[in-house]
Each structure stands twice: as C-alpha cells, then as structure tokens.
Amino acid sequence: MRYAMGIDLDRCVGCQACVSACKEQWDSGPGAARDWVHTFETGTRERDDLAVSFYPGLCMQCQDHPCTTDCPTGATYADPKTGVVMVDADVCIGCGNCISTCPYGARHFDPVKKVVEKCNLCAPFVARGEEPACVQTCLAECRIFGDLDDSGGKLSAFVRSKGAQPLVTADVDVRPKTIYAGRAHRERILAAGVVKRYERSSLTRTWQVSLPFARIVVPGLGLMAIAGGALVNLKARSDRVKREGQEAAATQPPTPEPALETPLQAKACGAGDGELFRHRGGVRFLHWFNALSWLLLVATGTALMSAASFALFGTRFPRWFAGLVGGTEPLIRFHVVWGLVWAGIVVPLFLLLKGGPRHVLEEVRITKDDLLWLTVKPLAMAGLRRQPLPPQDKYNAGQKIFALFVLVATTTIIGSGLVMTFHVGPPGAVAAAILVHKLSIALVLAGIAVHVTMAAVIAEERPALKSMVTGRIDHEHARHHSPKWVARLGQQTRDHDSDAHAASKEE
C-alpha cells in the first residue's frame, strides 16, 4: 500500500481552504501549517502572456524520505504499512534537525507544541475511513487521495488520465509520491525553484564526526581499562607469589598491626571486629540506584537513536530494542520518566546524605598529597615505584577526580535532558542539548569503565566493592588506602566519644 495525494493544478483556485482545514484539524501553532498554497506569477501585460500558478504543497511522501535518516530520536519514520512518512509527536523532541533535510520545506517547527509538524495524510482520520481534511474540504476538488498500488483506484485513474507527475528536478529526485497534474503549472512551479537540495544540519554533521568516538573510543577505553585491570591482577599475583616465596624462605614473623583505633571505631559505628563502617544504607542505595539507572538509561538512550545518521551500532539494535518494549514511544517515555525519577532522587538524596554541597566539595577537594599520589600511582601500578604512596583520605585522588567529573557530567546530563524533555528554547537549543547530553554521557562512560575496573576487576580493590554492598570495609584495607580518613575517624572518636553523629557526618 502506498498512500499518496494527487493534485490537479488546473483546478486549484488558490482559496487555501485546505490550509485552514489542516490547521484546524491539527491545531498547528502560529506560523506553522502542514500544507501551503504559494502563488507564482509570470509573464507581462505587454506580451499578453500573464500567468498565475497556485502551488498547493504538502509533504511529498518521498519514497527515499531523507528526513527519516536524520531524526535523532526516530520520531520521523515511514509507516511500513502505508508508506506514509510520519512524525510521532510523542517521540519528537523538537530539535528541528529534519527541517533542513526536506527538499520541499514541508516541515515546520510548531512554536506552541514545540515539535515538528508535517502532513501525515491525516493518518488517524484515514484509518477511521475518512478523507484527509484538505481533500474533504477542497472547493475545487483538485485533490485526490488514494493508494498508488491500487491500480483500479481513483488515484491511479488520475495518474493515467491526467499524466500527473511528482515535482522533481535533474538534481533532486527522492521519489515523491505526491503528484501533480497540469503540466504548464507544474513547470512554472518547478521553474520557481521549489525543490531544494538536501542539506545536512550542523547537528548531523557534528554527530557524524563524533560517531567514531562514541562507537570506538568509549568501548575501547572500557576494554583497555578492563585489560589494564587484569594485567594489574596478574602482576599482583606474581608479586604475591614471589613475596610469599621470599617470606617462606625468611620465616619472619609478621609485624603486628598498630590497631590503635579499632575497638573505638568498632564501638562507635557498630561494625564487626576488624571492619570499619564506611557506607550508610542511603549511600549504598544511592550508588546502586545510580548504577541501575545508568544501565537502563544508557541502554534505552542508545536504542532511541534509531535513525540511520544517529544510530550508534546500526539501526537494527534500536529497532529490536523498541520492539521489545512495544515501540519507540514507550521507550522514550520510559527513558524520560526514569531519567526524571533518577534526577529527582539522585540529586537531592546525594546532597542530603553528604550534608549539603559544601561537604561534597570538601570531600572532593584535591590536596597536595593527592597531586603527588596522582603522579606516583601510575608508576606504582606499572611496578616502577616501590615506595609507599602518599597517604590518602577517605577517597583517593583518583576517586576524587572521577567524582568531580561525575558531578559536573551529571549536572550537564540532567540539564540537557530537561531541555530535550521539555523542549526548552528554540530548536537550536534542543539540538545543542542532544550533543551535550551524549558527549557528557560518553565521557562518563569512559570514567565508569575505569571505575568498574578498579572496583570489580582489580582484586586488591575488591573490599571497596564489598563495602558498597555491606557498608563495612576491612580495617586493614582502609588503613592502607585511606590512612588519613582512618586517622581522622580515630581522632574524632576520641574527641566525641559519645557522639556517633560526628563520624556518620564524615561519611
């Protein structure tokens, strides 16, 4: 089935009933309408060859539909059943990216609805057995709606009897299904230059440039981090084997731990012997809720980029994923609702648990030790340095930098997400938000790869992962990795023996 429109230019009187009916039917905002009637005048009185041609235009329902390849969310698509090019207003985020791709200027940004408007041949009305609004009301009856594949239908008859043809040029032919009868008028309309070359928007061009980064660099970084982690493990094991061999040879008794603070701390925080209480339940929930959200949002977000120019790993994955959840609309709805819930929980809860923005900044403040740590840690990991690392606070400098990075990126992601969700600002702003959103996510994903490697791959760091589950951390591990924090904990516990809050605040 190929639904299409035929227009007899010889009959049109330019009364614009079609445009008004369309605007009423579809509630197009100021300056927006899904169709139009332009007037072209040629000739002179002197030569007695004056002519006026009305050009009743609408979506040409191109079979190559360049607009569908450049829609970041996949809101624009060709209905597989009817061939009609549609915009799903519930999926469109109003970035306006498709507008410049249309050779006929058939797409408009609706300033009220904040989405892109275009003719869908009145699909829901046609589905109920009606004619499109413009056809229904055309006083001149110059519009014929029908199925081009129905050889016995009125549209095919119109093509045969009137020689109707699409408006195409030698340069631009995207196989439109909207066809025009009335040769003289059609030629004047074409001569007026109504068919424009397809132009890629700056968003699409930027996206195309950054696609390799998103496709290769981010997963590549992840793989590299994991591989690096595995290498560190291997080296640690071989070191241990070596050390154990040496120790066995020397049979020296192990040095006793200076376990000064342990009993106090254990008492204060209610943790078991040999363990420090590191993460409250709220923090652990926050962490895992955040992790789950990232997983879901990255998956759905990736699946949302379904148009050819935007899909990360081909158009198949998005289609498959959308199919799983019942279409793109539930997908974007899920993404948006979960995103809002995520932002609504993560931000306030984080600030609450951390005792306000000031404390957060305090925790991620980079000290002199941190700077030194940052320099020597890689050397140590590479086995090039044997001396002990500079002492670190609750979070080491790497964690701090990652946290800072995540704080900035989260703000950016939420901000740009809100711009897209609520269509804030002109289409250009939404288009920019798309880039910002995805760039921030890509950067965070690179960081997450390192984070996950550190926590889950590198064996030495596993207590940290465990602490995010149980809340407790092995005292030995803490003393080793966060001596400053451990020292401070001990200090505070001595100062405010009975006040457990002080410790928990520092959490």
Binding site: Q16, A17, S20, E41, K113, V337
Partner: protein
C-alpha cells in the same frame, strides 16, 4: 484549536514533574505538546457531531461541528446543504477560533470615557437593557421613533428589526445592500421584475460559457459557486473575464479583457450591438419575452467594437472573440450579475441593466446554462401583532433613490449628520462595523457625534464598538440559536442554526437580546415565545416540519413546486410593469433616468495618483475575520498591488512598506507593496478589511491598510442609493520613518 483540557492536564503534570526533577532548574514551557510522557491527543474521534450553519460570511453554508466536551475539534461542510456539499472554505474551517478568542466581547459594558475612547465598565444585562431603553425612550419622546435607526448584518438581525419596527422606526439598513449588491439588484429587478437571491441563481451545471465582470471568484470563496465554477470549467465551459486586474478567474479564462476600470458597460454595449447587428440574439425568446428591442437596437447602433475598444483599452478583436464564445454557447451562457457591484455610482445600475439585457438577448434568463428559477421554502412567520403604521424612512422622506429596495445606510448616516430630512438621534448597530463597512469613516464618526445614544451589539471589539454608549456581547454563531436559514436555489431548504458549544462568557444570542430589549421597550408582544426552540418549533410546525428532526439533520430539503426553467412557449408574466423583460425601461424614463444602459467613463486619474481598487481574500470576510486566530495567522496583512512600471517611477520595490493617501489628509498603512504585472499602470489594489485601529483586536490592529479609511469621494447612485467606491484616487509613498 488547542486541546485545552488535555493541555491543562499536561501542563500540570509538566510542572509537577519539573519541580520534582530538579528544584528551580527549569520551568516547563506551558504548552509544550509532546515529550514522551503523554500521548499525542490529536486525531481523537469526536464525542458528538452537531449540524448548524456557518456565519463566517453570509453564504450560509451548512456545517457539521465535531465536538469533544465543550470544545470544537473541527468544522466540516454539511453534505446535504446545496451551498456547502460537504465542504467549507478556509474561513468556515476557522470559525471555532471566535469561540476561544480572548479578544471577544465577554460581558455587557457601559461607556465611562469619552465616545470613541474605548473605556468601559462591566455591567449586568438588566442595567444595560435599561440604559438602552431609557435612551431610546427619550429620543422617541423628543423626535419620534423614526429618529431611531437599526444597522444590521447577519442572521440575528431580523429579530432586532422586528423590535425596532414594533417600536415605530422605519429606518433599518445594512451595508449588504447599499455598500454591496444594491445596484445589481435594482438593475436586474428593473429588467426582469425579480429580486436576485443569494446565491445568485446561475446555472453552472449546464452552462457552456461563463462571463464574469470584475469577479473575485476564488479570491472570494463563495463555497458552492467556486465549486460550480471549477466544475463547469473542467467540463469545458468557456470563460470570458473582464477585469483591469489579472484576477484568479482571469488566469483561468479563455479570454481575459483587461478593461480600463469603469468601462465594462462599453464592452457590454458593443456585444449587444453585435448580437443585434448580426442577428445572433435569441430571436424567438426576445420576441416572446421582452419589450423595447427596437429602442435597444437604435440605442446600441453607435457602439461598435472599435468604439468599445477605445473606451475600454482592449483590442476590438478580443471583444468580438468574446462575443463569438457567447454566441457559440447561447442560450447556455451564464452572465454573472456580480455581487459587490457598488463601484461607480449611477453607472452601476446601468452596468447591471446591461448585463441583464445581455442575458435576455442571449435567451439565457431562466434557460438551461444561464439562470434558473429559484424557489424558497415556505415557512410561516411566528405569529405576532400587526406592526404599527410607520412614518416615512429617511430616503422616502427625502424623495431620493426612487428604485432602492432597502433603506440605505448612507441615507441614515446623512440624516444623522445633517438632521435632514429629519434628525436621527439613536442607533442600534448589530454585527456591522460601520467605521469600516461604509465609505468615508469621517462621516460615520461625525454622525456618531451627533447621536444622543449609540448601542452596539457584536461578537468582537471592532472599531464601532469602541464608540458605543452601551455595548452588548453576542454569542458566536457556534453558541446560539438563530432564525431559520430558508434557502433558495435549485433545491429549496430549511436549515437550522443551533448551539454547538456553550459560551464561556456572559454573552447572549441576538434573539434573546431582541426579545428582552423589546420587553424593556414595551413591545414584548412581538416576541410571544419564551424559548427560541418554541419560536422555531412554531414556525416549523406551520410548514409541517419537525424541530427535533431538524436539530438532528441540520437541514430539510423541500421539494420544488415550480419547474427549474421557463419552458419554450410557456406563458409567464414577469413581475415588471409590462409583464415582460424590459430591455427598455419605461420606469426609468418616467423617473428621469436613461431607459437604456449608457456608458459614462469615470474620470481619469490625475497625474501621480492611482485609482484605488479593492477586493477580497479567500481567507477573510470584509473586516470581520482579520482577528481570527487561524485566519490572522494564515493571512495577517493585505498588500498594495502596483504595476512594476509605476513602482519603478516611484522608486518603490517589492515588499517595501508603503503608505497610501487619499489627497484629503487621510492616510493608511504601512502595508507591504506587491509589485505585479497583474495590475494596470493607473490603479492600485488592496484587499478590503485590513488596517484595523481598534486596539482591542490584538491580532488585527495596525496590520495592513484600510481602503475604507481612504474612500472619501464615493459616488451615490441616484437610482439604487448605493455608494460607488471605486472612485477614489490615491497617492503612494515609501513608509520610511513610519515603518511598523
């Protein structure tokens, strides 16, 4: 129109969501449509469909309104209405905008500032009625009821007329006669003895040749007539168009005669001469049905095609060629009488007579392909007492406009201005913006300043409403009952207007205003019904029709009683004094007018000036629709059309804002210039109805130019009383320094 209720829910949701998401980060745009949280609400099926008829213009197209809750989703043409046939023009489609328009008049208001200042206070209906009744009573006591006048335009008008006549005034008038169709109606009535109905009884179905004079068909979207025209053309009927401007129909014509403005009659006379000389007129029809042929033959003797060519500035061979098309198609020739024909004054009735005589010589009157015999459904009036004996109206008292079919608006305005033949001191103005709908707004304002009392009833805050002492807000046509549409045409019918949605404001329908004000004035006896359904039911029962069924169907087609055409040999006495089609009009001769049409060339434009022509946009009706949300968006301003050579001489360029002045100190604009070969060198053109000045019309105020602001030198036709308005010369200048 907005899915208002859905939007509100969505907006609330948005705000909650946004607040929850991130405190104070973003405030959601109030009307953002879709972002994946809520479903797109468009394309939902209507909850109910209500038939009614349109009032965007007065073609009275049947409408089926699709409604959800109290909101119009869309309007569609009623399939059974002969003048709609399931279609509506661009204006009709946009009608629901009047319901939701925030600019509309929402409650009765009483003036608190100076007249014309537009300062009002809100009032109750009772207080407003009482104030009007007191004002009218004082005038009646001092000057007699004839010192009161009603101006009206629209379906609600006749009941207000009943009120006014019952109160004793003979002075009721509408611009639809004296600023529009008057001369045409008189010319045809003098010739055929018939008052032309609307739609014009033109037989497009059978015609083989159409002849149009300055027609705006297509630019004026008279629904069924546009449909008929296109179909006839597609069927192969030939088309002759006379128009100085290359109009939409000229573009479709086989022969376009770009006549000099005001020279149509010369071409008609040449055609009459050709028909007579070459014996190509319908001999039998003329002998059987007409009188005065010999006088006509003598009269047109000097009117050769060459003479007409010199008068009209078109080649004689084109005039002859057009004649050839007519003769070839006769008698199936459709000579359109036109509609807005108040162009040059006395010449207009002559031109209409010429068109009528041309129709008669071609044997096309009441013959297939020419015109058909129209018939109106017969529905009795609501029973009411006899009206009181009325004094003479202003025109009769002044012994002017001998052949006028209605009292003239200009006659009443003159009486109000000058006190002659007697003073008019109180106006009730319903549904017509006299500041725009009459030429020379200065005279209208002068008249208003002479009034003791001015009551205005309208839907929108037009210019005249700003001058009112008491301002009554009317329901829009989608919110009210009105009197029946009694349609004439090939298929007579009765149609109903009924409420589609409820008015969101303290507005009332015209029938109720008429009844309640009449009661206040002590003439409530003429409104012996308590609800309008009772009124309609009484009338319909009298015709054997059911109100309940009509409310459901919207229209009842009534079988014809008369044949569609005048059969050859059928005896018929025309309603003229002679009982025949009067080619020669003794009536005119007796009254001291030329009994046969004469061509009088209008004066040439002075150097440096242009004749101002005006016309229609298919998306606007007069000055009534410029503020409509959809129509203002689709067609927000008019442009001044000017010939490229003239523009070059003035150093003006396409799109440039220009001011248009009338030489008498009035100026309009700025409006964009449209440089086009479609205009002749000596004339400029604009669509009528723009250039609103009422600030209360937020979308339309200050957009474009107003022809009625410029037309001071109108010419009154002494026969019909209509005001010729293509008589104004204007100058054009660059609007620099006054750019909008």
């Amino acid at each position: 129109m907005a899915e208002e209720s859905n939007r509100i829910a969505r907006r609330t949701f948005l705000k909650v969501a946004a607040t929850g998401a991130i405190a104070g980060a973003v405030s959601a745009p109030a009307t953002a449509q879709a972002f994946g949280l809520t479903r797109d609400q468009h394309g939902l099926p209507p909850e109910r469909e209500v038939p009614t008829f349109c009032e965007l213009c007065f073609w009275n197209c049947g409408v089926v309104a699709r409604v959800r809750k109290n909101r119009v989703l869309s309007l569609q043409g009623h399939p059974d209405y002969p003048n709609a046939r399931g279609k509506l023009c661009g204006r009709g489609q946009a009608g629901a905008g009047f319901v939701t328009d925030e600019d509309r008049l929402k409650y009765p208001m009483i003036r608190v500032g100076a007249r014309g200042e537009g300062k009002f206070r809100r009032a109750g209906w009772g207080e407003a009625y009482k104030l009007i009744a007191d004002g009218f009573r004082k005038i009646k006591e001092k000057h007699g009821a004839k010192a009161l006048a009603l101006f009206y335009h629209g379906t609600g008008g006749p009941l207000l007329r009943t009120m006014m006549v019952a109160y004793g005034s003979p002075n009721y008038a509408g611009p639809a006669y004296s600023q529009c169709k008057g001369a045409r109606n008189v010319g045809y009535y003098l010739t055929f003895g018939e008052k032309l109905p609307s739609p014009e009884p033109l037989d497009f179905d059978e015609t083989r040749c159409m002849v149009l004079f300055g027609s705006h068909l297509g630019e004026n979207a008279h629904n069924s007539q546009v449909q008929d025209f296109v179909k006839a053309r597609a069927r192969g009927a030939s088309l002759v168009v006379l128009d100085p401007r290359f109009s939409t129909v000229a573009q479709k014509a086989d022969l376009w005669l770009p006549v000099k403005p005001g020279s149509d009659t010369a071409v008609i006379l040449a055609w009459l001469r050709l028909l007579v000389k070459e014996g190509t007129y319908d001999r039998r029809y003329v002998e059987e049905r007409t009188i005065g042929f010999d006088a006509l033959a003598r009269h047109v003797e000097p009117c050769t095609p060459e003479w007409a060519a010199a008068q009209a500035g078109v080649p004689a061979k084109k005039i002859v060629a057009a004649y050839g098309l007519m003769v070839k198609a006769a008698p199936a020739v459709l000579v359109h009488p036109g509609r807005h024909t108040s162009w040059y004054g006395e010449a207009d009735t002559h031109r209409a007579r010429g068109q009528a005589i041309l129709t008669a010589l071609l044997g096309a009157w009441w013959r297939p392909g020419g015109t058909y015999r129209w018939e109106r459904a017969s529905v009795p009036a609501f029973p009411a007492p006899d009206f009181p004996d009325l004094p003479k109206d202003v025109d009769s008292e002044a012994r002017r406009f001998r052949f006028a079919q209605e009292v003239t608006t200009n006659g009443i305005r003159d009486a109000t201005r000058t006190g002659s033949p007697y003073p008019v001191k109180g106006w009730f103005v319903h549904g017509t913006n006299l500041i725009q709908s009459m030429p020379n707004a200065r005279e209208t304002v002068e008249a208003i300043r002479n009034l003791d009392f001015l009551a205005v009833c309208d839907v929108q805050p037009t210019e005249i409403t700003q001058w009112a002492d008491v301002l009554l807000p009317e329901d829009t046509y989608l919110e009210r009952y009105d009197d029946l549409a009694i349609g004439s045409g090939k298929a007579p019918y009765v149609g109903i207007r009924q409420p589609v949605v409820a008015s969101p404001h303290d507005t009332r329908p015209a029938w109720r205003i008429a009844k309640e004000l009449a009661t206040e004035l002590g003439v409530g006896d003429w409104f012996g019904f308590s609800t309008f359904e009772e009124y309609l039911d009484t009338r319909l029962s009298g015709a054997g029709l059911s109100l309940a069924k009509l409310k459901l169907d919207g229209i009842k087609l009534v079988p014809r009683k008369t044949p569609l055409y005048l059969a050859d040999g059928e005896k018929f006495r025309f309603h003229t004094p002679s009982g025949k089609i009067e080619l020669y009009s003794k009536q005119l001769a007796d009254a001291g007018f030329a009994p046969l049409p004469v061509h009088a060339a209008p004066p040439e434009e002075p150097p440096g000036m242009f004749r101002l022509l005006y016309g229609r946009s298919p998306l606007h009706t007069f000055g009534r629709t410029q503020n409509n949300p959809i129509l203002s968006d689709l067609d927000g301003t008019n442009a001044l059309w000017m010939n490229p050579m003239a523009a070059r001489e003035l150093g003006l360029a396409e799109g440039q804002p220009v001011m248009v002045a009338n030489g008498g100190g009035e100026e309009t604009g700025p409006m964009p210039l449209k440089v086009t070969e479609r205009m002749p060198a000596g004339a400029v053109y604009m669509v009528h109805g723009f250039g609103h000045r009422s600030k209360a019309l937020s979308r339309a105020c200050g957009k474009g130019g107003s022809d009625s602001d410029l037309i001071d030198t109108y010419a009154v036709d002494p026969m019909s009383g209509t005001t010729g308005m293509r008589t104004q010369f204007v100058s054009v200048r660059d609007a620099a320094g006054r750019v909008a």
